[in-house]
């Protein structure tokens, strides 16, 4: 099959490649661009470990062909830290609130939470739980992930989230 030319912006940098049209975006990111933060957990669009931000949408990159991302602007977990290298409020929140254990779901979880907080800056617990329901975690039971997102939401609003990690 003829290869297709794709051009997109990933973490602020423009990239161009020739890819087989069937190349899934997750494989393009991981294997062509060496961005191994997004992971593959289920192959069937259920677990969300591959979640990235694409043109302001949370997207499961295992269920998008690279060619569909033509012209898109993509952010992966690797593009989340602040410009000065310090952790983004979400990255910090996940650490402070013990919102991760094995770390495999974390990049997808943070990317999804990132978009959620863009849309709902002060979400309730129920809104967070509903908002991250496309991301599976096998380690944490979600309770501290909810708190991590609340922590980040507060910080991004310029407030403090007092509650300690449970």
């Amino acid at each position: 099959m003829a290869k297709a030319h794709v051009k997109m912006t990933v973490n602020g940098k423009e990239v161009e490649s020739l890819v087989e049209p069937r190349t899934l975006l997750i494989h393009y990111l991981r294997e062509h661009l060496n961005l191994t933060g997004p992971h593959i957990g289920c192959d069937t669009t259920h677990c969300g470990a591959c979640t990235i931000d694409m043109d302001g949408k949370s997207v499961k990159s295992c269920t998008v062909f690279t060619v569909q991302a033509e012209g898109a602007s993509i952010t992966t977990i690797e593009g989340m830290a602040n410009p000065d290298g310090s952790l983004h409020a979400l990255q910090e929140g996940f650490r402070i609130m013990h919102g991760l254990q094995c770390g495999f779901c974390t990049p997808g979880m943070i990317m999804r939470a990132h978009r959620l907080l863009q849309e709902i800056p002060n979400p309730s617990e129920d809104q967070i739980r509903f908002g991250i329901a496309g991301n599976l975690c096998r380690c944490t039971g979600y309770q501290n992930i909810v708190k991590a997102i609340q922590y980040a939401a507060a910080k991004l609003r310029g407030e403090t989230f007092a509650e300690a990690a449970e």
């Binding site: 297709a4 069937t44 669009t45 949408k57 949370s58 499961k60 062909f65 060619v67 991250i132 496309g134």
Partner: protein, 288 residues
């Protein structure tokens, strides 16, 4: 899980897309959001030689209200539909049902057109469209035609869509002000298809149901309009016997398969309960 190889086409207009479909023939498939098709391709249950990606066609996007008709472009995503005040003010059931589909990420990408067009009985929007008496605009290289949602579904993955045609828009009459609506879906978890689901749209006059439509998801080989069930409640204030008659009539048109969600008799039983709940909620929301 890796999809098979294919050639990729990214038309910029409807006519270019239908032209490609006509030229490439039966080995081509239309790719909208891809949230159903790509998983099928990864499992190699679908292996088209050509994919025609309609995601870049601007004229397929957007929601418009034209008088008493709501027109929704086929590649409008579930997320865009939820964000459209025009759509959700006119027919709030669209929002209620849309939020019950899959999960947030899938809703950002999955389209209304894809949901109604692929003929999966587990999809939620076909029943909603039947409730709202929507019409699908089908366009081929030879022109366009309209088919009512209620006439569109023929069997699992079998629809009135002819080779070479694309669903380009979904049109529906705006339900009357003060109507009641509900979409009730029982599922095992977020991301699952319905064990049983029912939608209801009704109007109330002087405390009694004046008009009513009920449709069911994943309770047969297609979405089903439960006409007799709706008839059973018209003229009533949803008194117990009327609701029971509606549940009975609805259950009579259900024929779900037994699967990991439960046996057929279970799904029929709870299907009736979804009808009951949808009716009661819709009635409570109606004014008049």
């Amino acid at each position: 899980m890796i999809p098979g190889p294919f050639s990729y086409h990214r038309p910029k207009s409807i006519s270019e897309a239908t032209g490609l479909l006509a030229d490439l023939g039966e080995q081509s498939r239309v790719l909208a959001g891809g949230q159903s098709l790509i998983p099928m391709m990864k499992l190699r249950l679908a292996a088209p030689e050509h994919l025609i990606d309609i995601g870049a066609i601007a004229e397929l996007k957007g929601v418009q209200r034209k008088g008493s008709t709501l027109v929704i472009g086929a590649t409008t995503t579930q997320h865009e539909l939820q964000q459209s005040k025009v759509a959700t003010d006119a027919a709030p059931i669209l929002l209620e049902a849309s939020l019950l589909i899959a999960d947030p990420q899938v809703r950002y990408v999955g389209t209304l057109g894809g949901n109604v067009a692929n003929g999966d009985p587990g999809n939620d929007m076909p029943a909603v469209m039947m409730c709202l008496d929507a019409t699908y605009r089908l366009t081929g290289s030879g022109g366009s035609r309209s088919v009512k949602a209620r006439d569109f579904y023929q069997g699992t993955y079998v629809t009135a869509l002819k080779p070479g045609e694309i669903v380009t828009a979904i049109e529906m009459p705006v339900p009357p002000a003060g109507h009641g609506w509900a979409y009730e879906k029982l599922k095992r978890k977020i991301g699952d298809y319905a064990t049983a689901a029912a939608g209801a749209v009704l109007t109330v006059s002087r405390g009694k149901v004046a008009t009513c439509t009920i449709a069911l998801s994943n309770l047969s080989d297609t979405a089903v309009l439960a006409t007799d069930a709706a008839k059973a409640v018209i003229g009533t204030a949803l008194e117990k016997p009327a609701v029971e008659a509606a549940m009975k009539a609805a259950r009579a048109v259900m024929s779900p398969a037994s699967d990991t969600r439960g046996t057929s008799d279970y799904r029929i039983h709870v299907g009736g309960i979804m009808v009951e709940r949808a009716l009661k909620k819709a009635f409570s929301r109606a004014k008049g």
